[in-house]
């Protein structure tokens, strides 16, 4: 491992720790400001005697000063204890692991599909700059970027579930069956529409970026030279232009993790897909503070990993930057 790698890892580790600390404290303070009363959230309007209420308040530490509360939450966090979920009555970690896996599958497939589709469309559009394909792709991107993603989800639900009847509406598992009994096919059938929605929405930024980059590259001098040598058409793009665009496009796709997560929250709500986004909404609506805090932290880790991978791409994979490193040494 050379010095550069060591510095990179060290800087990233410090950044990660500081950022997570900041996110943990920030989100905690925000929820602390809210008028949510943990005792009321727990009781759900059940009637209890004042003495019992005092006991509950002591149990949750309602009247402790803010610093004590934050300290308690952070020290528990360091031990990997995120508390117990109010609505599911199980440790927050368990809820998050289960739900996040479901969301991860959804986000992973959407990420892959939108990446390939977006890159492909961008290349086709950029190659035919000004043509009808280019205009069509641009229009598509423009509309998809401006449309609320949950509305796209609703339209897809109307078309494929209601009108065509190909897929079930809502509920990731049919009513009356336990989730563990559902076959892999049933599960996949419920995965298709959310993935489709998230992919269609995710295509727009990457296609637009790829298109603009390709247009830039194609107007450069070395492409002109390549054309002068007699190269043209697809081989020209494949040999001269593609490598230059692929890496920044991939980097952008990694940086899109936050958008991906946000999209998943809305799409899961539309299709009642039991992922982390739906859980976050339920936690927020039902004042499950511990669960919501846990999800915020996990989402921040997720976004950080995306940015980290983008940086890794940039620093270690990009041959231009690698070359520079050798130059620096000599």
């Amino acid at each position: 491992m050379n010095n550069r790698t060591k510095t990179f890892i060290r800087n990233k580790a410090i950044h990660f720790i500081l950022l997570m600390l900041a996110v943990a404290i920030f989100s905690f303070v925000l929820l602390e400001l809210s008028p949510i009363d943990p005792v009321n959230a727990y009781l759900k309007q059940a009637v209890i005697s004042p003495e019992q209420r005092i006991m509950l308040e002591q149990y949750w530490g309602v009247n402790q000063p803010l610093t004590t509360k934050i300290w308690g939450w952070l020290s528990n966090l360091l031990q990997g204890n995120l508390g117990t979920s109010l609505i599911y009555r199980v440790p927050v970690v368990d809820v998050i692991v289960e739900r996040f896996m479901a969301s991860f599958v959804l986000m992973f497939f959407s990420w892959i599909i939108s990446g390939f589709l977006g890159f492909g469309l961008g290349i086709v559009a950029g190659k035919n700059k000004g043509g009808w394909i280019d205009k069509l792709v641009k229009l598509y991107c423009y509309i998809l970027q401006s449309a609320p993603s949950f509305w796209i989800g609703l339209l897809i639900l109307i078309i494929f579930s209601v009108e065509l009847g190909w897929f079930p509406i809502g509920m990731s598992v049919a009513i009356g069956t336990v989730s563990s009994d559902a076959t892999i096919w049933q599960w996949l059938a419920r995965l298709v529409l959310p993935t489709l929605t998230l992919s269609l929405v995710g295509v727009a930024p990457i296609a637009m970026y790829t298109r603009n980059e390709l247009v830039n590259v194609l107007s450069s001098d070395y492409i002109l030279f390549a054309r002068a040598r007699g190269e043209s058409g697809w081989p020209l793009i494949e040999r001269q232009a593609l490598r230059n665009i692929l890496l920044p496009a991939l980097t952008l796709q990694f940086q899109n993790f936050a958008e991906l997560f946000g999209g998943a929250v809305l799409v899961e709500q539309v299709f009642s897909y039991p992922g982390i986004g739906q859980t976050a909404v339920a936690a927020g609506l039902q004042s499950d503070v511990t669960l919501l805090l846990g999800i915020v932290l996990v989402s921040a880790v997720f976004v950080f990993v995306g940015n980290l991978l983008a940086d890794v791409m940039y620093f270690f994979v990009d041959p231009r930057i690698r070359e520079n490193e050798y130059l620096d040494k000599n």
């Binding site: 809210s34 949950f150 509305w151 936050a258 946000g262 915020v296």
Partner: protein, 284 residues
Amino acid sequence: MTKTEENKQGFLNLNLRTKTLLVTVIALIILVSVFLSNFLIDHQAVLTSNFYNINQAPSFEHLFGTDWMGRDMFMRTLLGLGISIGVGAFASVISTVVAILLGVFSSVNTLVDEVVTAIIDLFGSIPHILLIILVSLAFGGGYYGVIMAVGLTHWTPLARVLRAEIKKINTSEYIKLSNEFGKSKLWIAKKHIFPLIISQIIVGVILMFPHAIMHEASISFLGFGLPAHEPAIGIILAESMKYLSMGYWWLAFYPGLSLLLLVLLFDLIGENVHRLLDPQSAQE
């Protein structure tokens, strides 16, 4: 002049600048009339149930159809768009103030700059929709919660642009010269920096609108936003989900489409204003 060039000029014999201006004004008139229509429509009449014509498909009488309480969806959508514009405007004002303050603060010294960068970093590290949920909960939800949440989370792009821009201007020769001449910092800020960033601010505000509107709709859709009796687009769409399986597609299709058009109009205005204010493209 060739034939095609003549054709291009044919549109009312206007140059690009006037054309851009015309399109912008038309878009603006549409937006303003949508917003003003809210004050002319009798809310009570629109939102009162009428069980004679429930769940009707779109027709000439009811352009967007009617819902399960017989309310005209076109009118409800119009009211929803008005709410969206209102929330968007208010949120944009808050976000702009925050962005300007932080952008200007960051030029004070490096320590403040680091702090501002860290705050921008923090806001960018949580998925936006979760951040909005957190902030709206912090403000106790409801109308107030939504406006504050949308307003306090959309300033990051503009703040980043302003910070970079001010930094760039501050290192330029004529600012140094102005310093040498003994002008005060305030004078320099007012005479040299402000005129250069004002166009960035205007464009930033207009382009903030679509995001704010979309996030307001999203968060209302999720159930955190406005109370359920308000005719906000997000609430209309959330409500429509219950009736989709019965085939009442118009409940979801038209309100969403209207929102999309609204967002596109704001985008159009933003881009055009940018083109008009930016000296490099204004004279094309």
